[in-house]
């Protein structure tokens, strides 16, 4: 087994592999799909085909649940694509396999090699050599199952995320090449020209890292590590409202698909409603933190009906005590919760762990970026519906605190494609 294939199996539990059949006079005819089917994963498990109804019913937390999912899919074989594709003239086959499948294929007569399939250059040009796959995703990235989309080549490529925060340290190794656009707004709320990206605090770099941080020393902190960022520095002090409004307006002009904001005003107010309406009208999905003030509280615009409102959960899937939640008639916020406790991400001086709904929000913004990258023609409404429908609320999670529960990248992708 090659090192690359072994690394991918260690990291994800499965890999896309290329079989190379033996050639020459002694080699027989290439095997058929039925000959090889048992060694490959059903592609539906990986969220590729339109099998949403069944896949959406599976509350899988990871590959440990793969076997039952696979069995459930077997009954849909007639409507599912074959798990392996044979290229008889090339003497090759292509499909997804687990370690057991790879080992079985290695020992199968007629199989000369089993190699990890490299992604086509149209999806990931030249980056495979310079960026080895990360092997240690943070718990939050893993909890949302982003690495399983990465394994399909979905890493946020082609998507720009809008980010209004305290700035971003673009020179951090985890953000190398990530900050496509940066703007700073002065104490009077005026845009400053020609300013290099920097962070006046730790907050903005930390949230940016969770959205799209690149792997550093094989540690993966970002949900969408091939997305890019348009970041507006809107630090506190002076005319902060003017800077935030200016930042919103500016990022919307940078070709973004997702708008991530870990800020808001305690309570209820309509001041930002027109801005959120405008962001939605532009086809951008606003993902906003709900606040850190606990039960029966929320902040706006994170409590508006037309934003994706995000609360925080911990490693045990419990809603964090600080995570805000509030009922407004039949509607409640947050819409969902995401990893927001003990979140490791980058800061200008290195790395740090933070707790807060500010840390949960960029997980969801990064998830949205992955989905837009997978389906560029999808609308913000499509992506929002996919994320919401992917959520699973653990049995122990109080609905009045966690609402729909925790999103799932694999289920969201299946829903988006379903």
């Amino acid at each position: 087994m090659t090192d690359g294939l072994r690394e991918t199996l260690d990291q994800y539990g499965y890999a896309q592999v290329v079989l190379v059949f033996e050639t020459g006079a002694a080699a027989g005819a290439p095997p058929s799909v039925e000959d090889l089917r048992e060694h490959f994963l059903d592609a539906a498990v990986l969220g590729s085909p339109a099998t949403g109804g069944v896949l959406a019913s599976v509350e899988s937390a990871g590959l440990a649940h793969q076997a039952p999912v696979h069995l459930a899919m077997a009954s849909l074989a007639a409507s599912s694509p074959p798990p392996v594709r044979i290229f008889p003239r090339l003497g090759m086959a292509l499909g997804y396999a687990t370690r057991e499948g790879v080992e079985a294929l290695h020992s199968r007569p007629g199989v000369a090699k089993v190699l990890r399939a490299e992604l086509p250059s149209l999806i990931r040009p030249v980056r495979a050599e310079s960026s080895p796959p990360p092997v240690n995703p943070t718990w939050g990235v893993e909890r949302l199952r982003a690495p399983e989309l990465w394994a399909q080549g979905i890493r946020g490529h082609g998507v720009t995320v809008g980010h209004i925060d305290t700035g971003v340290a673009a020179n951090h190794p985890a953000l190398a090449g990530a900050v496509a656009h940066f703007s700073q707004f002065d104490l009077q709320g005026r845009q400053m020209e020609g300013v290099a990206a920097w962070d006046s605090d730790d907050h903005g770099t930390h949230t940016a890292g969770t959205i799209l941080g690149r792997a550093v020393d094989t540690n993966a902190i970002g949900m969408a590590p091939e997305a890019t960022l348009a970041s507006a520095m809107v630090i506190e002090g002076g005319d902060v409202v003017g800077r935030i409004l200016g930042g919103m307006e500016w990022v919307l002009g940078q070709g973004i698909r997702v708008f991530s904001a870990s800020l808001g005003i305690r309570g209820q107010g309509v001041a930002f409603q027109a801005a959120m309406d405008g962001i939605r009208a532009a086809g951008v999905l606003p993902v906003i933190a709900v606040g850190n003030e606990g039960l029966n509280t929320s902040r706006y615009p994170g409590n508006y009906a037309n934003v994706l409102s995000v609360g925080a959960c911990d490693r045990t899937d419990a809603v964090a005590p600080f995570s805000s939640s509030q009922q407004f008639g039949a509607r409640m916020v947050p819409d969902l919760v995401a990893p927001g406790v003990d979140v490791l991400s980058c800061v200008p001086s290195g790395f740090a762990r933070m707790d807060g709904t500010s840390m949960a929000t960029p997980h969801v913004a990064g998830l949205a970026a992955l989905l837009f990258s997978a389906e560029p023609e999808a609308s913000a409404d499509d992506v929002e519906r996919a994320i919401l429908s992917s959520c699973v609320r653990p049995a122990a999670m109080d609905e009045s605190r966690g609402n729909r529960g925790i999103p799932d990248a694999v289920r969201a992708l299946a829903a988006l494609r379903g």
Partner: protein, 112 residues
């Protein structure tokens, strides 16, 4: 955790501004117009409104950046002028410019 929520209705904001500055002193704020106002008309609507409610105070009113997206305008004006503006139907919200609690700060932060 401080769960206290501030009242952001226009009347409550104006009362806080009056409490801090009095009615005649200038205060900095952002005025938000109804989403029904076309984005390209925000500046014009605000200028017209100021001219109508405070014709004798025009020198005391300074308009700041306009956000077409948010249908808002920055303004520095005597609080009584702000109150007059907020009495008009096209203005739906007002925020002081110097809010200090916008960033949702982490509840805990520690080195990795």
């Amino acid at each position: 955790m401080d769960g206290g929520e501030t009242d952001w209705t226009p009347e409550a904001v104006l009362l806080r501004l009056e409490g801090a500055c009095g009615t005649d002193a200038a205060a900095s704020a952002h005025l938000f117009l109804s989403g029904d106002v076309p984005a390209d008309e925000v500046a014009q609507r605000v200028r017209r409104a100021v001219a109508e409610v405070a014709p004798e105070d025009s020198q005391a009113v300074a308009l700041g950046p306009v956000s077409k997206l948010a249908r808002s305008v920055g303004i520095r004006a005597p609080v009584r002028v702000l109150r007059s503006l907020m009495s008009r139907d096209e203005f739906v919200s007002i925020l002081p410019g110097d809010l200090d609690d916008m960033l949702i700060r982490p509840v805990d932060k520690r080195p990795a």
